[in-house]
Amino acid sequence: MKNTVWLVSYPKSGNTWFRMFLANYLKNVAAPVSLREIESTPLASSAIDFEKVIGLNPFELTADEVDFYRPDFYRILSAEAENTGEVNYKKNHDAYTLNANGEPLFPEETSRGAVYFVRNPLDVCVSYANHGAGKVQRMVDFLLNEESYVAGRRSGQLRQKLLSWKSHIQSWQKQSLIPVHIVRYEDMQQKPTETFGSIINFLCLEYDEERLKRAITHSDFRALQRMEQEEGFPERKQLCKSFFWKGKIGNYRDYLSDKQIQRIVEYNYDTMKLFGYIDEHGNLTV
C-alpha cells in the first residue's frame, strides 16, 4: 500500500520547519503544538526502529549491509501502518540511491510521494556548520563531496548517503518511481500560503485556507525559536546552541569568504541556476 510520504532534503533546508507545520496542520487545534510533536514525523534513519523491526543490531552490520535491509524495513513499517490507516511521514536526508542488490532504498510500492525541500547551498553550508558546531570550511568541502554521508556506526542513526548538494537533489529528480514535489526554502518564507498550500494539495490532504494560515503562524520560525528556548528540542545536537538558529535568507554573506562562495557556485552552477539562486546573467540572486 502506498502509505509512506518521504520528507526529503539535504540537512538544514527547512525539513524540520515543515514537519512542525505539518504537525500543526494535522492536529488542527487552536494553540501551537509542542516541539515534542516532531515525533509524529520520525526519522527514516532511526537505528532503534531498524533493530526493533529487522531484529539485527545495525551497528554490527556494515553500512552497506544495512542498506540491503532498508527496503524491507520500510515495507514492514508500511504494512504495520496499514492496520491503522494512517500515513507514514518519514523525515529523510538520504539521496535516492540503490543498495548493492540494485534495489532502491525506498520502495516504490509503499511510497505515496516525496516532498523535497531545496535551499540555497550557500545558506545550507553555514547553517549546517552551526548545527554540527563544525568549521565552515569543513562544510564547504562536505557539500562538494560526492561521497558525503552522515551518521552510521553507533550514532543512533543509520548511515545516510547524501552525496554532494547538487547530486542529492538530482538523485531525487531523476528517479521516476516516486512522485516528487519540490519546494524552495526561500518560498516557504516569502510565499508561505502558496508554498505550504501546494504541499497540502500534493499530499491530497483536505485543503482549508484558515487551517493552513493558522498552521503557518503556529510554526513560524520565531515561534519555533521561542519554544526551543523554553522547552528544548529533542533533535538539537548537544554542542549546537540552537536548532532553529537564524533561518535568514542570505545569511551566508556574514560567514563565507569570497573564495568559499566561488567554490560552491562553480561546482553547483547549473543546479543553482535551475532553482533561481543564480539569475540569467550569472549573478547570485541573494
Binding site: A47, E51, N57, Q238
Partner: protein
C-alpha cells in the same frame, strides 16, 4: 568449522545443506520466521540459522562468510531466539556484580551498556554478561544467568577506558569493534537487585528517575531482547507477563538519561550512586 554454544543447554551444528524455512510460521518477515518452538534467520552473505525447541541450532554458512561474523550472530539474535524458546527472559543489557548486588544496564544498541559495565569492572565490579542478560525468575527469587559470550567494545570506547586495542580480536573483519580479553566470569547465578535503563539526550545534565508501580512493568517489557520475535510466540509472551510482574515487584528499576557526549566514568558514578543509595 567449530562453533561453541554460548549456553550449555544448546547444541550447535554447522551443516552443508540448507537449514530450511518454517512451513507455516506465525510471524514471517523477509529475514526471519518465528513460531513458538521454531525459528529461522537469514543474515545475508553470512549464514542461515535455524533454532528448534530451545536446544538445537543448525547453521548453514554462506560460502564466503568468515567465522567471526557467523559467531557474532549466533551469540546475538540466534541466542536470543533460543532463550525465548526456553522461556528464559533475555534482557537487552550488560550485567555485573557490584558490592554484592546484581545489576543489569539495559538500553538500545550504541547507548554505552558495555562501556559502563567495563568501567564498573575496572572499579571493583565483576563481569557477568555483555549485551544479552538472561534472567531466571522462580517463585521466590530472581537470578542473572551467566552465558559464555565476550565483551564487545568499539575502538573509541577502548580508548576512553584506557584499554590498549592491539592484540584484541575484531568482532567482524570490517568493524572497528573488538572482543575484550576474557575476564573471569561468573560461573554461578547471581541474584538480580537493580536494573537500569540507560538512554541519551542532548542536554548537559544527567536525569535519574527510579520507577514505581506499573510503570516498572511497562519499561521492563520494552527491555526484552529481540522482543519482535514474541509476535510469533504468544504462549511465551504470556508466560513473560507473569514473570515481568514478579520482577517488577522484586527489583529496583531506574531510568538514567545521560548527555550524548559525556565521560563513561561520570555515567558509572551516577549509576553507582543509585546502586548504593
Amino acid at each position: 568449522m567449530n562453533l561453541d554454544s554460548p549456553i550449555d543447554s544448546l547444541t550447535v551444528k554447522v551443516i552443508i545443506d540448507d537449514v530450511g524455512k518454517l512451513s507455516a510460521p506465525r510471524l514471517s518477515r523477509p529475514s526471519f520466521e518465528v513460531d513458538e518452538n521454531d525459528f529461522f534467520l537469514d543474515v545475508r552473505n553470512i549464514a542461515r540459522y535455524r533454532v528448534q525447541n530451545g536446544n538445537k541450532v543448525f547453521i548453514n554458512p554462506h560460502e564466503n562468510a568468515d567465522i567471526a561474523s557467523i559467531k557474532l550472530f549466533l551469540n546475538g539474535s540466534v541466542l536470543g531466539a533460543a532463550l525465548h524458546q526456553q522461556g528464559i527472559l533475555p534482557f537487552h543489557g550488560s550485567s555485573f556484580e557490584y558490592e554484592g548486588k546484581g545489576v543489569i544496564v539495559c538500553g538500545h544498541s550504541g547507548v554505552g551498556k558495555s562501556s559502563v559495565m567495563v568501567a564498573f569492572c575496572q572499579n571493583g565490579g565483576n563481569f557477568i554478561n555483555d549485551d544479552i542478560t538472561p534472567v531466571r525468575i522462580t517463585g521466590s527469587a530472581t537470578f542473572i544467568t551467566p552465558i559464555k559470550t565476550g565483551i564487545k567494545l568499539w575502538d573509541d570506547s577502548l580508548r576512553k577506558l584506557n584499554i590498549e586495542k592491539n592484540g584484541l580480536e575484531k568482532i567482524r573483519p570490517a568493524l572497528e569493534k573488538f572482543y575484550l580479553t576474557e575476564r573471569e566470569i561468573f560461573s554461578e547465578e547471581q541474584r538480580l537487585d537493580h536494573l537500569f535503563i540507560l538512554g541519551t539526550h542532548q542536554k548537559e545534565e544527567f536525569i535519574v528517575n527510579e520507577l514505581t508501580g506499573m510503570g516498572k512493568y511497562d519499561v521492563l517489557r520494552k527491555q526484552i531482547y529481540r522482543r519482535v520475535y514474541l509476535k510469533g510466540m504468544p504462549a511465551t509472551e504470556k508466560s513473560y507477563f507473569k514473570q515481568l510482574l514478579l520482577l517488577a515487584a522484586r527489583v529496583r528499576v531506574t531510568k538514567i538519561l545521560r548527555p550524548e557526549l559525556c565521560d563513561i566514568y561520570e555515567t558509572m558514578a551516577n549509576i553507582q550512586n543509585e546502586i548504593l543509595r
